[in-house]
Amino acid sequence: MPRALEAERITVQFGGLVAVNDVSLALDTGQIVGLIGPNGAGKSTLFNALTGYAKARRGTVRLFGSNVERLPPYARARRGMGRTFQIERPFEGLTVLENVLIPAFLRHANRAEAEAAAMHALELVGLSDRAVQPSSDLNLARRRRLELAKALAVQPRVLFLDELMAGLNPPALKEMIGFVRSLADSGIAIVMVEHIMQAVTELCEEVIVLAFGEKIAHGAPQQVMNDPRVVEAYLGGADE
């Protein structure tokens, strides 16, 4: 049985700068892996390399056993990679429902079916009462949920969440954590870049720590947090 996602020896270079160096990661269905590290550690770049938005110079990415490292982002999405963006970008000028309708069309060519699926995704994230509202009118917490609904509407098997929790107030955070847990329970493999340690410790069985593009630690959250190299990376990053 192939694993949900297997990335091996990913290296990304911008000009002479090595942004991600020789990083591997793997996870199974229902598993949540956290990706942490100080700012500029290469988390987002690795994320982009896995989802196809950045070009990896070396390395392979397998989705349920088939290689996708040469595929563009949209083709990876079609094969079951869903993602959110760190800076959430709803399609301006469209309503909340229409925003989710667009990814829903990926699995349903018929408008009525796609609309039902989009509505379903909105219900999942608790936005169904906002369906006809212009998306630009949503507040931050609701934009995050819209972003998630958009990612869910492609019916992903592997989901990439980019700082989904950032800036949420405690009740919203709690709600979101519970929600991500239920997604994993429904059988989706999740990779998350996250700064909010509460979310990381509550959700992830496994954490990968990046610093200067290198993987410096890998393991359960508590164990990794106590790793001196990790502590040093964070402190070192802090006084830069």
């Binding site: 989802t51 079609r78 963006f85 970008r89 000028g93 429902l97 309708l101 958009k150 492609v154």
Partner: protein, 354 residues
């Protein structure tokens, strides 16, 4: 050409679906739900048809002006599929107008092809050209598409001038004879007027159908944010190419009618930048990405042109230049876009308040 009333709900081009209507009057009980479910634009289309028919009756001696207006509105609406709904500004759509006109001209005069075959051929060629052109430019980041659009139209103009054997060169091509489909005299201004009106309605109906379906939403997604669109499984290059091919084919169709209308084709007026710019500006001033914006823009600028002819005509594009600067600075969505934005706000405010 009237719409089926059981179209799916839509909020992009019509009123939003779910908002329960406040208090339908007893007489409009049947009509209101249909309008709410997206029938309104179809009603608008019927209004355009009626206005066209009214023009025919009221100004029977100004059919040429009407034909010019209808064709410009049709081209601008076709342009808008790419320029407005998909967000790819083209300043080369004259290429397709010229292509349409020349295909009719060349096939009619050299090969005696019946006009309906010429029209199909023209549309197919336009779509192929758009496809290849999109291949070269849609994968590039930045303003390369708009730059290339001018270049391609220029190249076609130079080909039309230099390949004399095919196009008659600078002296041009004269259409003296055409088959009469269903006994219609295609050279009569009366026939041409109805053809032009039908053409505009066809473009508007296509726009309405496309923008309410999958492709239409993909086009808007690509316009708003290509990275997000890719996350939704959309291939931006192929969506842009599809929109471009559709836009090109429809523009070429209008070009065919224009070619018959002129029946003397020369490269200069047909392929020139001037025409491309006019098509784009009419759509932008009227409101990009709105169903009736390009039509409103064409009507306004044509009528303003007629009115201010003596005041401005020495520099007849001056008014376009001033208007576009004003629109960009103060009404960036265009006239219809601004009206629609206000209407959506008001409606939402009402439904949220009530």
């Amino acid at each position: 050409m009237t719409g089926s009333p059981d179209r799916g709900p839509d909020a992009g081009a019509g009123p939003p679906p779910a908002a329960p209507s406040a208090a339908p009057g007893p007489a409009s009980r049947a009509l209101t739900p249909w309008l709410e479910r997206g029938g309104a634009p179809w009603l608008g289309l019927a209004g355009v048809a009626a206005a066209g028919a009214a023009w025919y009756v009221v100004f029977p001696s100004s059919l040429s002006l009407g034909i010019g207006l209808l064709l410009l509105a049709g081209w601008a609406s076709a342009w808008d599929l790419l320029g407005g709904w998909t967000g790819q500004t083209s300043l080369g759509h004259a290429a397709f107008v010229g292509l349409g006109a020349y295909v009719v001209g060349v096939t009619a005069t050299k090969y005696g092809l019946a006009p309906w075959w010429s029209v199909l051929l023209a549309m197919a060629l336009a779509a192929v050209l758009a496809f290849l052109w999109g291949r070269i430019t849609f994968g590039l980041r930045g303003s390369y598409f708009v730059l290339s659009s001018i270049a391609v139209a220029e190249i076609l103009r130079l080909i039309a001038i230099n390949e004399r054997k095919l196009t008659g060169g600078a002296i041009g091509l004269f259409i003296f004879d055409l088959d009469r489909p269903f006994g219609l005299d295609l050279f009569s201004r009366h026939t041409e007027f109805w053809l032009a009106l039908g053409y505009l309605l066809l473009v508007l109906a296509t726009t309405l159908l496309v923008t309410r379906g999958k492709l239409g939403y993909q086009m808007r997604a690509v316009r708003e944010d290509e990275a997000s669109a890719q996350a939704a499984g959309i291939n931006p290059v192929s969506v842009k190419s599809l929109a471009f091919m559709l836009s090109a084919a429809l523009t070429a169709l209008g070009g065919c009618i224009y070619g018959i209308f002129l029946s003397a084709l020369q490269p200069q007026p047909l392929f020139e930048l001037h025409l491309s710019v006019r098509i784009a500006l009419v759509a932008i001033i009227g409101g990009r990405g709105t169903l009736f914006g390009p039509l409103i823009g064409a009507a306004m600028l044509t009528l303003a042109g007629e009115l201010f002819r003596n005041a401005f005509a020495e520099a007849n594009l001056l008014i376009y230049g001033l208007l576009i600067v004003i629109v960009v600075l103060f009404v960036p969505r265009g006239l219809m876009g601004e009206l629609r934005r206000r209407a959506v706000r008001r409606r939402y405010a009402k439904s949220a308040g009530g």
